[in-house]
Subunit: 604 residues, 2 copies
Amino acid sequence: MSLRPAQRWRAFRSHPERLFPILDWGRRYDLPTFSADLLAAVIVTIMLIPQSLAYALLAGMPAQTGLYASTLPLILYAVLGTSRTLAVGPVAVISLMTAAAVGEVVQSGAATHVEAAVILAFMSGLMLLAMGCVKLGFLSAFLSHPVIAGFITASGILIAGSQIKTILGIPGKGQTLPEIALSIWEGLPAIQPVTTGIGIGAIAYLYLSRTRLSGFLKARGIGGHLAQIITRISPVVAIAVTTLISWGFDLGAKGVPVVGAIPAGLPAPSWPLMDASVWTQLALPALMMSIVGYVETVSVAQTLAARRRERIDPDQEMIALGASNIGAAVAGGFPVTGGFARSVVNFDAGARTPAAGAFTALGMMLATLTLTGLLYHLPQATLAATIIIAVLSLVDLRALPRTWHYSPGDGASMLVTILATLLLGVETGIITGVVLSLALHLYRSSRPHVAVLGQVPGTEHFRNIDRHDVVTAPDVLSLRFDESLYFPNARFLEDTIYDRVAAEPRIRHVVLNCAAVNAIDSSALEALEAVNSQLSDAGVKLHLSEVKGPVMDHLRRSHLLENLTGKVFLTQVDAMRALSPDLTHQTCARARCETARDHRGRIG
Amino acid sequence: MSLRPAQRWRAFRSHPERLFPILDWGRRYDLPTFSADLLAAVIVTIMLIPQSLAYALLAGMPAQTGLYASTLPLILYAVLGTSRTLAVGPVAVISLMTAAAVGEVVQSGAATHVEAAVILAFMSGLMLLAMGCVKLGFLSAFLSHPVIAGFITASGILIAGSQIKTILGIPGKGQTLPEIALSIWEGLPAIQPVTTGIGIGAIAYLYLSRTRLSGFLKARGIGGHLAQIITRISPVVAIAVTTLISWGFDLGAKGVPVVGAIPAGLPAPSWPLMDASVWTQLALPALMMSIVGYVETVSVAQTLAARRRERIDPDQEMIALGASNIGAAVAGGFPVTGGFARSVVNFDAGARTPAAGAFTALGMMLATLTLTGLLYHLPQATLAATIIIAVLSLVDLRALPRTWHYSPGDGASMLVTILATLLLGVETGIITGVVLSLALHLYRSSRPHVAVLGQVPGTEHFRNIDRHDVVTAPDVLSLRFDESLYFPNARFLEDTIYDRVAAEPRIRHVVLNCAAVNAIDSSALEALEAVNSQLSDAGVKLHLSEVKGPVMDHLRRSHLLENLTGKVFLTQVDAMRALSPDLTHQTCARARCETARDHRGRIG
């Protein structure tokens, strides 16, 4: 799980299929698998065409770049990915983040929309590739579940809000909820009735087909998976119908915003603009998109793999996603990631290997070559309707009270992330969430459970004096820390020991029971050295007991053991026998029990 | 330890001395204590005068502001602080951070040096006060020991480097080591021989008095504490002698930089400039200074308190330090914190209560009223020499190999913090260190120790199959996580379970042994819910065993227990009796031992 680069290289030499999983499944590829993959690819392609166009518009990009972003990335993922069924491509949240990041750069005039988006995809790809190679997948742990859930809910709301203006046919922009609301308010007098009609009609159709179509089909004997797939590709019908209407009445010429001319054919390979200032501006957004996209990808891939008892390799997924994003840049697209809905469709449609993704890419290329002329009349409102219906499933406000009920701290993290994202924008929102959840984590880590130990009379067992009838010696304080000793709790360790010793002047020995300590980092080591030295000045000796083997080996690399004023005891009972020989074979005398009660204090 | 504001208010009503510790010790104040405090105050005052002037210059401020910063803050700390011997005032590292933060604002032209420093002290004070009131002292846990040690070492180097130009009498500035080195290099032709002579003479005298004077005095029968105190106040001799020389030869008029005219008398209370853009620019530096200053204060206070078995209250220290900084702002000074050297002198000189600090403040006011005229001729090179000698003790490069040897990860954190601080400046340095140490912490937290459990034949004990001869059932996987389940390891939990289940097709039951789990946060709860649902799709049931009472109570607030496909068992043996009745009363059959070996895999 933690190969160094050199080890990794040796591992690759002996098992090249770890870096190129295609070498593994490709070897066993046969006709039935091919048929299954091809069928799934056809279905995913039909679903992906409207999504790609829609998310390009959401990202502020020309519509065709959405198609481009659904070609090369899918092929690269097929070669490098470890998930059998993950479908990568443009997704809503990443497109919104692209719009936000690119918007700032374009405002400063340093690059065009397309240039900035290509750089963003390229940087994000490089970052993921680099992080995957040195196995930094754990960085996704920076995003706690409440933060990512809150962020996605807020993003869904922002996305839906941003599409309302397209539905109404009014201009407007804005990257926070107040800005979006204001721009809609200001645009209200300019509503275009025809556009609005098409948009609302499309929303109604899409909503009904999503909520009712599946049940309707089932009632007519069409089974679960097939019904779901038909439901998923129903947006194509909306696209076809509204395009026909728009073409029939020549709505584009009458002021209804349509997709317009799309250059036909495949894009020439692009190369990102080398402008240091633009790269610097986009570095932080690229990092955040990388991590958010990676978290989503791994979640989806893991969910689907587990259902079939398949395995994925999270670090390899990082590499595959990185390559896909570089592919997106080369194809002139924008950042991509694994999409939940389309991966589920791919899975349900029976895809067996990543080849299905490669076939989807071929399908998208075919679409790029043939369909672009047909899409001229497609009303933008139809795409906006597609987006609104798609992101409704992202918004899960019920998670907030549920999380709050389970853990108010986590609920607060989620709420703050939602509010910060809605009111301050996606970048500030996610950074706020991350900082808050880290602070919460440190807060919890900084106060581990600590027990003052006493001896269960007549036994060799030692237990928390607050929960058991135990005896203690007045001059010995035995403390058990129920957590590894590391920097978040190093000061708490010092505080606790000093407080206890200051509170009870009879104490001459402190025994730190390390039974629950799996590691001691440098900060905790310094704390222990300080405690040892300060207690010595105060005439108190520090002892350790029940130190685990690996921890002891580690401590031998420091000077703590040499300088320790007390001893290291194998067991707590050894410590008590040495420090308080009278106590250890007695039963609970009244005086001693009172002493135990004296020790009970602020420590819970 | 975790009072809410309302509780805190009630606690204050019944125990006002918790918020105003002066009410506690003031009640028992008597003549012997007064004499002891007064003597300590005289000694600290003599030590503090040159330090205050020197650190004002280091902070880029007029010399008198150093004296101002040593008045009101000390009085406020005396009223609010819980340490009996901590001496607050200007210190080297915080002065360097002030110079860096103020420099940026002054360059932008938004405020003068003094205005910006006053705002900085005021903001830092407000932040500390607010954090102290809501008990955010744990935020200091963000700074691991390697990071703070590396930062202080690098700051010491930067400070010493920045003073070389003053010793040489050349102009120059710069906030990173390359900038400082370049500015000295460029200034070399303009070296002033007299200034350099005074500077080097002062350095030699101060160095010798620091390293040899104490031994010299001891050899003449002057005891430990007294010898140390004489050593500490010896800079005053350097100041007096060089001032006399400078006055005698009128060096100021001959181009040797001297302190010059200092307005005599106490400052009028100042009020920080209300300029939102300056406040915004200074917010992050103020936050960092608050936390660095707080960490230093608490470390010093705790060290000294522990020696006398006294107690300090870390949250109350935050309030006291906050009030001191607001005091520094009102007095027209710059940010202050608890200084190590002067606190030790105060302690060694016999200070018994914070009143010593208040008396020191009176001494400093007297100095402000009387000495300023005398200091006109004081060469700046003498102050620079004082600073260089003072910060030498901050530079501890030997800590680097020691820490590296103990823990390469912690050593790397320290090295990167040192390099980033030296090469990129104090703010970037400390942020880099914090981010790196958090990442390292998350990395370690993200992969807790996991054991696959088997039954010790003939007993009810279950142990790690990698370390003991145990038996397992082929269709039951028992996993024990040796860590609480929370967001840094939530994904690892999922990965681990899915990997094990995918690797062994016979598994029908997964038992998660929670004996070492002290808490389950929302992220881990979501992970468990996902595991439960995905395993169910794969035909595997999820069970829990040995869940601790408080964790169980917590889980009851979620839907996990209702939806759990398996059961919750009180003990591991109950689980095995229910899931694999044949196994639990048998001894190790060969076939079963082999199964145990099969389960041994990537989990260490």
